[in-house]
């Protein structure tokens, strides 16, 4: 006699089945993005089911975000890559692939060798500790020397970009990204770098503007050029400045009363503009709208006005020109004005921009991307975002490691050494971890159409023999010295990949039961 304890349509998987479904889901996801890994990785075209939009991308997080998945383990990996994207910006594919490989190895251990999942976890913990320790040992810190550090940054950017659509112009974009990041002076908020995408032209035509671009125009009939600009950046209502006290109502018995009020309102606006002009400025940028009347008043006073510069725009402008964002105008002395040498209206493609050049502080900047199609632009933006993300993290944690499978091989070696001094069954799990790490260079080589078996074993021999800078030179299809080739990756990135992948695989390894509730049917009966 069995008793039904679950409701209708509740699906339950137990023990081996549950574990299998977790493994299979995770491995499937990893396999899905595997082919995008590395400089010879391929892109994916994602077509939306509901709209005609399509995305062409190489970015693991973007791919995974766009596919609706049902398997719980797959969802864990998707979340993993999303977090990696938010934290570091790049390495979203690597982290997914590595945790997929870790689970694949674990599956073998559990299925074939009948090792308890917890023992596997124990082994993985030992292994990830050893791997991270080794990674830390080979990490190089060049932050003391600004020239070298800048060089490192450019190299990191190049490595990151080499697997993306920008790989053709990676030199240019690497320089561009490094320059942009250095301008932020240690700030990691990428919002301060504005990426403007304009259709037309070539990817090569993209540039980092020397000053700062704002996608706005001056008011009508105002001069298109302001030299030695003194800018007041404001966030204030210049449409109709309402009385804010709640429940106020104007009651008038006659038309003349209304006329008087209208005049008073105009006076009020005029007063405000008057106050603003006391700041001794020649440019006024407002986050909110500016109506015709105040705009005209500004023109009369010889002040150029810019309306409706959104939140980010105002914030970036404040950072670039060093002015305060102002909302009250009674106290001109206590207010820092933004300054720059020249503001001019320029046209890029078909769009008009205000270019603020010769800015004083320059802690925000604009990158203009040009490209033939929307998809190219979007993908270029994503790639650039990845590179910027990694670079900004590197400014915080300046250590670097070598790419091209080199860091993985060094870690794998350390893990193998750790395995030799581990007793019990968990040693097998430690070895498995090393194998999973070696899968990354294998996939790199496979994607490049090279003989991975041959190359990776040679790489292993080199690395285990003590050559700690050997890696795969995928353009020439042989082993190379990564330091000489300048294939450098951020230490933070690699560390996050190993840590996160180990944690995620541990989460999934611990599972032995899946209970799926009845899907909600959006209010429809049955």
């Amino acid at each position: 006699m069995s008793v039904q304890i679950f409701g209708d349509q509740v699906v339950e998987e137990r023990g081996e089945n549950a574990r299998m479904s977790a493994f299979v889901g995770a491995i499937a996801v990893a396999d899905l993005v595997k082919s995008t890994l590395g400089p010879k990785g391929m892109d994916k075209l994602l077509q939306s089911a509901s709209s005609d939009q399509s995305i062409v991308t190489n970015d693991g997080a973007t791919i995974l975000k766009s596919i609706p998945l049902d398997n719980p383990a797959a969802k864990v990996l998707v979340n993993l890559s999303k977090v990696q994207d938010d934290e570091i910006g790049d390495g979203t594919t690597s982290v997914t692939v590595l945790s997929g490989e870790l689970l694949r190895e674990a599956e073998k251990l559990i299925e074939q060798s009948k090792i308890h999942p917890q023992t596997v976890i124990e082994g993985y913990r030992i292994a990830s500790r050893a791997a991270l320790k080794a990674l830390e040992e080979v990490a190089v810190d060049n932050s003391k020397d600004p020239v070298k550090f800048r060089d490192d940054l450019v190299k990191i950017a190049k490595t990151t970009l080499s697997s993306k659509i920008l790989s053709q112009d990676k030199e240019q974009f690497a320089e561009l990204a490094t320059e942009a990041i250095l301008r932020l002076k240690g700030n990691t908020n990428l919002e301060h770098i504005q990426i403007i995408k304009i259709l037309g032209g070539n990817l090569e035509d993209s540039f980092l503007d020397d000053g700062f671009l704002l996608a706005k125009k001056f008011g009508t009939n105002q001069p298109k050029r302001v030299e030695n600009a003194k800018i007041l950046i404001a966030n204030t209502g210049l449409d109709s400045d309402k009385v804010k006290i709640f429940g106020t109502k104007f009651k008038s018995n006659s038309t003349s009363g209304i006329a008087q009020l209208e005049r008073a309102e105009r006076e009020r606006m005029k007063g405000k503009v008057e106050k603003i002009s006391k700041f001794g400025i020649n440019t006024f940028v407002n986050r909110q709208l500016i109506y015709d009347y105040p705009e005209q008043l500004f023109s009369d006073k010889g002040i150029n006005s810019v309306e409706h510069a959104d939140f980010e725009g105002v914030e970036r402008l404040a950072l670039a020109t060093g002015g305060d964002v102002v909302s009250t105008f009674d106290d001109p002395e206590h207010c820092r004005l933004g300054e720059c040498d020249l503001i001019e209206e320029i046209v890029i493609g078909e769009e008009t921009f205000l270019r603020f050049s010769g800015c004083k502080v320059r802690e925000a900047c604009s990158i203009v991307l040009r490209g033939a199609t929307l998809q190219v632009l979007d993908e270029a933006e994503r790639s650039l975002h990845d590179a910027l993300g990694v670079l900004s993290q590197t400014t915080r944690e300046p250590r670097t490691v070598l790419g091209g499978g080199c860091a993985e091989m060094v870690m794998s070696r350390a893990v193998d050494t750790a395995a030799q001094s581990t007793d019990g069954k968990r040693a097998m799990a430690v070895e498995a971890f090393a194998r999973a790490l070696r899968q990354l260079p294998t996939i790199l080589a496979d994607n490049a159409g090279l003989d991975s078996g041959e190359l990776v074993t040679r790489l292993r021999a080199a690395a285990y023999g003590g050559l700690s800078s050997a890696g795969l030179d995928l353009t020439r299809g042989e082993l190379g010295d990564m330091r000489e080739l300048g294939i450098v990756e951020s230490f933070t990135l690699k560390r996050a990949v190993v840590r996160a992948a180990a944690e995620a695989s541990e989460v999934l390894l611990r599972v032995d039961h899946v209970v799926r509730a009845r899907p909600r049917t959006a209010g429809r009966a049955q």
Binding site: M1, S2, V3, Q4, I5, F6, G7, D8, V10, A22, P72, K75, V76, N79, V83, D86, E87, G89, Q118, R125, T188, N189, L190, N235, T236, V243, K244, I245, F246, G247, T248, K249, F250, K251, G257, Q260, R263, A318, D324, V325, S327, T328, D330, D331, G389, Q393, G424, A500, E503, E506, V507, R510, V511, D512, V514, V515, A517, R518, P519, A525
Partner: protein, 559 residues
Amino acid sequence: MAQPRTMDMPDLSNAIVAQDEMGRPFIIVRDQGNKQRQHGLEAKKSHILAARSVASIIKTSLGPRGLDKILISPDGEITITNDGATILSQMELENEVAKLLVQLSKSQDDEIGDGTTGVVVLASALLDQALELIEKGIHPIKIANGFDEAAKVAIRKLEGSTDDVALNKSEFHEYLFKAAKTSLGSKIVSKTHDKFANMAVDAVTAVMDEERKDVQFDLIKLEGRVGGSLEESSLINGVIIDKDFSHPQMPKQVLPKEGETGVKVAILTCPFEPPKPKTKHKLDISSVEEYQKLQNYEQDKFKEMIQYVKDSGADVVICQWGFDDEANHLLLQNKLPAVRWVGGQELELIAIATEGRIVPRFQDLSKEKLGTCKRVYEVEFGTTRDRMLVVEQGATNSKTVTCFIRGSNKMIVDEAKRALHDSLCVVRNLVKDSRVVYGGGAAEVTMSIAVSEEADRQKGIDQYAFRAFAQALDTIPMTLAENSGLDPIETLTTLKSKQIKEHTSVFGVDCLGKGSNNMKELFVVDPFIGKKQQILLATQLCRMILKIDNVIISGKDAY
């Protein structure tokens, strides 16, 4: 004459009259078939089986080698957890008896906070044993009574075998740490075992009230954030709120002013906006002068508000409500970093942490009412613009702490939070009642031995109930052994003989393969009140289920 038909009259309250295509009326009685009734032995058996199925699901989560469950919500959200109460509450159980078990683990969770899996396993084991006795023909109530008596014996024995760890102050802290470790053993955070155990102990000791032996849980905030790794989790002395300074150009860190010992915090519950009287009102303006007056009034009001804050000497303003753009700028201009839209609960925590008063009106603001803290700063995460604000506590008497948990994905952060909550509970329980028993099933084995010894002294049917109770207690060490890949029967028998031979209750299951059964040496300890509660709750539930002999399930709506 025809016999009157002896068909049961259908329940006509649910009946409707319909017509077929020819216009002839007929009666449809709805939901008749849905009504179910079970009674007698059959009902009991089905209950016990339901309990058994529930227990069989969470049984594998017990102990340091226990495994986790994935629960998928109706919306496809995923929870991965090892916590009995969480598993059961999200499992969407339909069976009534199964729901009782959910309640059971919930009440253990509310009372004690840990041992939610154990209590369900125990209850189901008791019911299993009861089923055998029922089949022998013993009356359920008699069994329940016998179980109650047995539970008393067990708890008496348990109480006798406790060790009070508070006798030695210096060792007490060590014990708290060990107990926290035991409770974390089965969770994912065992990866950074010491760190989380330390966090739990430090958090509780920071906020505990030694006089009253109580710990106010409201003062410990658990804040989680994806990114980084479990190892980066930390205990923060003060409060973290998911907010940033109201103006992008305000400084990212506020340190005490020169000559001052701390940052002065003004905690406000009034908005930096023109006043909005609560009484319904209407303000009619009829002349231009009035309009201008109103304008000036408005502006003065802003200045006045800022002046009040400024006069009080505050360095930072924390406000429950929003700011008007103008006020925001005035704050910036007056070098008053401010935070807006801070939730009520967080506001209270900040007030406690800084020993400040929550001020409802600008007029009431004064120097004495300001809070003091070491510093207030923003922390940034990753490449997004997400920021959080940390109010770091200075040397004040009242304490609040925040356990800040990081992890590589959402599921791990959530699970780490639950795990930490459990171990906080364990530590708190030890602060309240410092007696411990030994884990790894040692306490259960001791009780089981005591109960079965007592069994022979019972008269009549209670003997059976006692023996059954003892066997049910054995389930816990057996499950632990099974989950750890050991032979359950062999392990149990070894433990029993060892405990009897050496007259001690320190021998338990060696789940982690440390090569020793001595739980005292391995420092596997559980709070006494947690164990006691488990026994009491399980016995009570068992009695309740045994008393049911009739189940009527009325027809449900088809939706």
